[in-house]
């Protein structure tokens, strides 16, 4: 049986009786057993997955109503709550946190008969872009295991690319879905802020992050969006998309569309192979009938600084509850003397989380807020104005997803600033709430390159149509796993 098929192909095959959900899921679990010791995408596995698939097969056979996933095996980033399942955020602090409830996206996928094969790796609390900050060790890039898979949703990207699942849910705060998608050569899509409920996603920087799918095809991303998007009374920031069908008319093409090439994202520091792939993509888009033109968004050069100040501020607040009293505590029947215990608080948080918490205590504090936090908010609103102006002229914007190729594990871990700068092309979509997608575009020296498209808010359908059109021009070698 071929497990290297798309999500949509899977649902068609199970529906038509070509394959059984049980066989497919069993095969997928075998694949995980076989290769995950090496790739380390998973933090925990669902040992009932095959049984659940068997139940779905029974339902199909008996003609019961069946959800749109037909037992499709999905992996879930370990910062999204599944009831009665460990949700660790790849942190020692939440090593034993068993979520007592389902995230809204999980509830919706359960209703559609999806099967969760396991929880996948991330940088601790989603802070990082390589999974090297996972308290349980990094995941490996399936194209070359010496290299990072990107992050923070690295486990999601690896599991999709290495056929350990059909699709995955990650979260994207500053590129955390798109970056690993680019590094591992999968589709990674961050929707408009508010399109997918965040209820049950453990917050890092709540004002800009979104759950997003990582899939093998753009169509699969649209399919996933159909299942999980929409208004949720548990998340006041969600918006009503009127049950939009994102798959319908996905073949519409991009003829006549205007595409802006973001100048600041193809300049200094870009890898030559990434630049040439981007230029190639632009000419392909023009070949499909779009017109492309350069545009300058000069606030982009401040975007990374603003991004780190805003995310640190929110993280400092969102993670304040992990104080070693309520989570992560050692339990001693004699109890502890309060002050000595408090001194130890937060020792269970790793270096990157600690760094951002300290930064988050500083930049919004009295006497410093004006210089840092409030200025960062100004950058955010100016950047939003600039990109809104750009969308008056353009339907879409294009850039490489990441300006460089995947780097080696350990290569940059001691240089936080260098790591920060890799986010330059992805944070703009988060700061402005716009939808953005990364699609696999090229392989250079055996390492993937992704291309990013950005659309205006609530133009997710157009974004998916364009990405689908570009995707059809791409032919890539198979991953060597």
């Amino acid at each position: 049986m071929n497990i290297k098929i798309s999500a949509l192909q899977f649902t068609r095959d199970v529906k038509s009786g070509n394959i059984s959900a049980e066989d497919f899921v069993a095969k997928t679990m075998e694949q995980i057993q076989k290769i995950d010791g090496n790739l380390h995408a998973f933090l925990s596995l669902n040992d009932k997955a095959v049984d659940q698939a068997r139940e779905i097969d029974k339902k199909i056979k008996s003609g019961e109503k069946i959800g749109q996933c037909f037992g499709m095996p999905i992996s879930i980033k370990d910062n999204i709550c599944i009831k009665d399942t460990k949700t660790t955020c790849a942190s020692k602090m939440l090593e034993n946190f068993i979520a007592p409830y389902d995230a809204t996206v999980i509830t919706k996928l359960k209703q559609q008969d999806a099967i969760f094969v396991g929880k996948v790796n991330l940088d601790e609390f989603a802070m990082g872009l390589s999974t090297e900050f996972s308290a349980y060790g990094p995941s490996k890039n399936p194209w070359n295991t010496d290299y990072v898979p990107g992050g923070s949703s690295g486990g999601s990207a690896v599991s999709v690319r290495a056929f350990e699942c059909v699709a995955s849910l990650g979260s994207d705060t500053g590129g955390s879905v798109r970056n690993p998608a680019s590094f591992c050569s999968t589709v990674g899509y961050k929707p408009t802020y508010g399109l997918i409920s965040r209820y049950g996603l453990i917050s890092y920087a709540n004002s800009i992050e979104q759950i997003g799918p990582l899939t093998r095809t753009v169509e699969d991303a649209a399919f996933m969006l159909n299942l999980i998007a929409g208004l949720d009374s548990n998340d006041n920031t969600t918006i009503d998309d009127n049950n939009m069908d994102y798959l319908k008319d996905i073949d519409s093409g991009i003829e006549g569309k205007k595409i802006g090439i973001i100048k600041e994202m193809i300049g200094e520091g870009i890898d030559p192979s990434v630049l040439s792939a981007t230029k190639d993509a632009i000419s392909k888009l023009e070949g499909l009938g779009a017109t492309c033109e350069e545009i300058s968004l000069d606030m982009v050069k401040y975007s990374v600084a603003a991004y780190y100040i805003i995310t640190a501020t929110e993280a400092g607040s969102n993670l304040a509850r992990y104080d070693n009293l309520r989570y992560g505590y050692d339990f001693s029947v004699e109890g502890y003397e309060f002050n000595s215990y408090i001194e130890k608080a937060r020792k269970k948080l790793g270096p990157e989380v600690t760094r951002r918490m300290i930064l988050g205590g500083f930049v919004p504090s009295a006497g410093h807020a004006g210089k840092y936090f409030l200025k960062a908010l100004k950058v955010k609103s100016k950047l939003t104005r600039q990109i809104n102006d750009a969308f008056k002229k353009f339907d879409l914007l294009i850039s490489p997803t990441v300006p460089i190729l995947p780097f080696k594990i350990g290569e940059k871990i001691n240089d936080p600033v260098a790591l920060f700068l890799i986010d330059i092309n992805t944070v703009t979509a988060n700061l402005t709430g716009k939808p953005a997608i990364s699609i696999p575009y090229a392989i250079s020296n055996g390492l993937p390159i992704g291309i990013q498209l950005v659309a205006n808010s609530m133009n997710d359908k157009l974004l998916l149509q364009a990405a689908h059109a570009l995707e059809k021009t791409v032919k890539l070698p198979e991953v060597p796993v």
């Binding site: 910062n79 007592p100 004002s207 548990n234 998340d235 304040a320 309520r326």
Partner: protein, 467 residues
């Protein structure tokens, strides 16, 4: 000049659920840590879900206190560490980046005095810490999160009060107002809490925190003024500090904590989008707002001719004015008001007595009508009322059971009067020369009939027999 400013926290106890989840707003009857959920416990991944009713009620309070109300309101995070705070931040409101709290500046009259309101904000109450243990060294702190997330309105005033009496009058008006709006029951334990700042001429401002009731607030202010004056008279400087109210010893104590130095790192709560409260919504709220105490009072005076003092007492208490509204007719209104303010208020003067009272508006109406038609004397009515509050029986049953009906049988009454006349020859003589003293004899008849003699008939018969 003494200056006093107040920060009053009032829970919206009449709401069904907490500010951000569906746990009960009235947490008082639960076992510790049973009125909780992932949201009010701040579990990883949970998000606040704003209770729109709380926003509406808080806006009503702002409008009732004549405060400005912005077009859009926002919520902020106040970041600080405390064991009773599940998320280690509190979701509250702030006016430093523009007026985004439910209420801006306003004015309320306390007698002839203007008290300026600085702002009104809606926020979540933290959990409750319970200290147990025999000695300070052995102390255990328990945390009960049942209260965490209860909707709370903070009302901040300018330092416009000059003495504890003004504070008390303001608190009376405020608690009547909150009760009348049906947003809060100020008599519930912990429903009203306050901080105060107090400074006397030539001294620094002192903040008093942790005052658990309105009653104690007045006491705390009084204590603090006396303390400061006594320091001042001995030329000891009054330092700027935060003091805590010790409700057992009824004194303020300097708090060694550096609470005033805390940096709360306020920033916008991204999980709750701005809430628009447009003209349309405000109009709707205004139309749903219960009649104000002042308007009630005026109506009682002008429509029913109820004396101003009686109208004042009656209108400012929601429990009694609701009773009045349900029991009165145009004819008996004065009588109903009279029964409530002179008799009932004494019988049901505590929360427990009010709650256990079996009196219904129909009872009140029956009593008032019976007094007016001469079926029952005022004195007997009072006894009947006492029985009704206790048992809830019908007035007619009580009249016959306790034999409270008026003696209005002419021959029976004449006999009684004859005997009084023979017992009181002196008074009879006096009454002949000075008709006003006849009331003494009426009183004697009343005594003998235990107040049941029809007063008008008694007077007529007396006059006839003396002449």
């Amino acid at each position: 000049m003494t200056k006093i400013g107040l920060e009053i926290h009032s829970q919206l106890t009449k709401l069904e659920s907490k500010l951000f989840c569906s746990c009960k707003a009235n947490y008082r009857e639960f076992e510790p840590n049973t009125n909780i959920c992932p949201i009010c416990m701040g579990l990883p991944g949970s998000l606040p879900r704003l209770n729109q009713k709380a926003v509406e009620k808080a806006t009503m309070i702002a409008m009732a206190l004549n405060c400005s109300t912005p077009e859009k309101i926002a919520f902020f995070r106040k970041n600080y560490f405390y064991p009773d705070l599940p998320k280690n931040f509190q979701i509250t409101q702030l006016n430093i980046y523009g007026d985004t709290s439910v209420g801006g500046t306003g004015v309320i009259m306390v007698g002839e005095k203007k008290i300026r309101i600085t702002r009104i904000q809606l926020e979540e109450d933290p959990g409750r810490l319970i200290y147990e243990g025999s000695s300070e060294k052995n102390q255990i702190t328990l945390v009960d999160y049942n209260r965490a997330g209860t909707p709370l309105v903070e009302i901040v005033t300018e330092p416009d009060f000059e003495n504890p009496k003004e504070v008390r009058e303001f608190l009376n008006i405020l608690s009547d107002l909150l009760e009348n709006l049906d947003v809060s029951d100020p008599s519930l334990e912990g429903a009203m809490r306050a901080d105060a700042n107090v400074s006397i001429e030539g001294g620094n401002k002192v903040e008093i925190k942790n005052i658990g009731s309105f009653h104690d607030l007045e006491k705390a202010v009084h204590f603090e003024i006396t303390r400061q004056q006594s320091l001042h008279s001995r030329d000891i400087p009054i330092i700027q500090e935060t003091r805590h109210w010790d409700d057992k010893r009824k004194i303020t104590i300097s708090s060694r904590s550096k609470e005033e130095d805390l940096d709360y790192r306020y920033f916008l709560e991204g999980d709750i989008p701005w809430v628009r409260i447009g003209k349309d919504i405000k109009e709707k709220l205004k139309s749903e707002m219960p009649e104000s105490i002042n308007s009630k009072k005026q109506r009682y005076v002008s429509k029913y001719g109820i004396p101003v003092q009686v109208a004042d007492v009656l209108s400012s208490d929601k429990f009694y004015s609701d009773l009045f509204e349900a029991a009165h007719t145009q004819e008996n209104a004065k009588e109903v008001a009279n029964i409530i303010t002179t008799d009932l208020m004494g019988l049901a003067d505590t929360r427990e007595k009010r709650e256990s009272s079996k009196l219904k508006p129909s009872h009140l109406k029956a009593i008032a009508d019976s007094i007016q038609s001469g079926k029952i004397a005022r004195n007997s009515a009072k006894n009947a009322l006492y029985e009704i509050v206790k048992t809830g029986k019908e007035l007619s049953d009580i009249i016959s059971e306790l034999d409270l009906g008026n003696v209005s049988d002419e021959s029976e009454l004449s006999k009684i009067i004859e005997s009084i006349i023979s017992e009181e020859p002196q008074a009879v003589e006096q009454a002949k020369s000075n008709p006003q003293t006849i009331n003494y004899l009426v009183g004697k008849v009343m005594q003998k009939t235990k107040g049941k003699a029809d007063p008008k008939l008694t007077l007529d018969l007396l006059k006839k027999q003396i002449q």
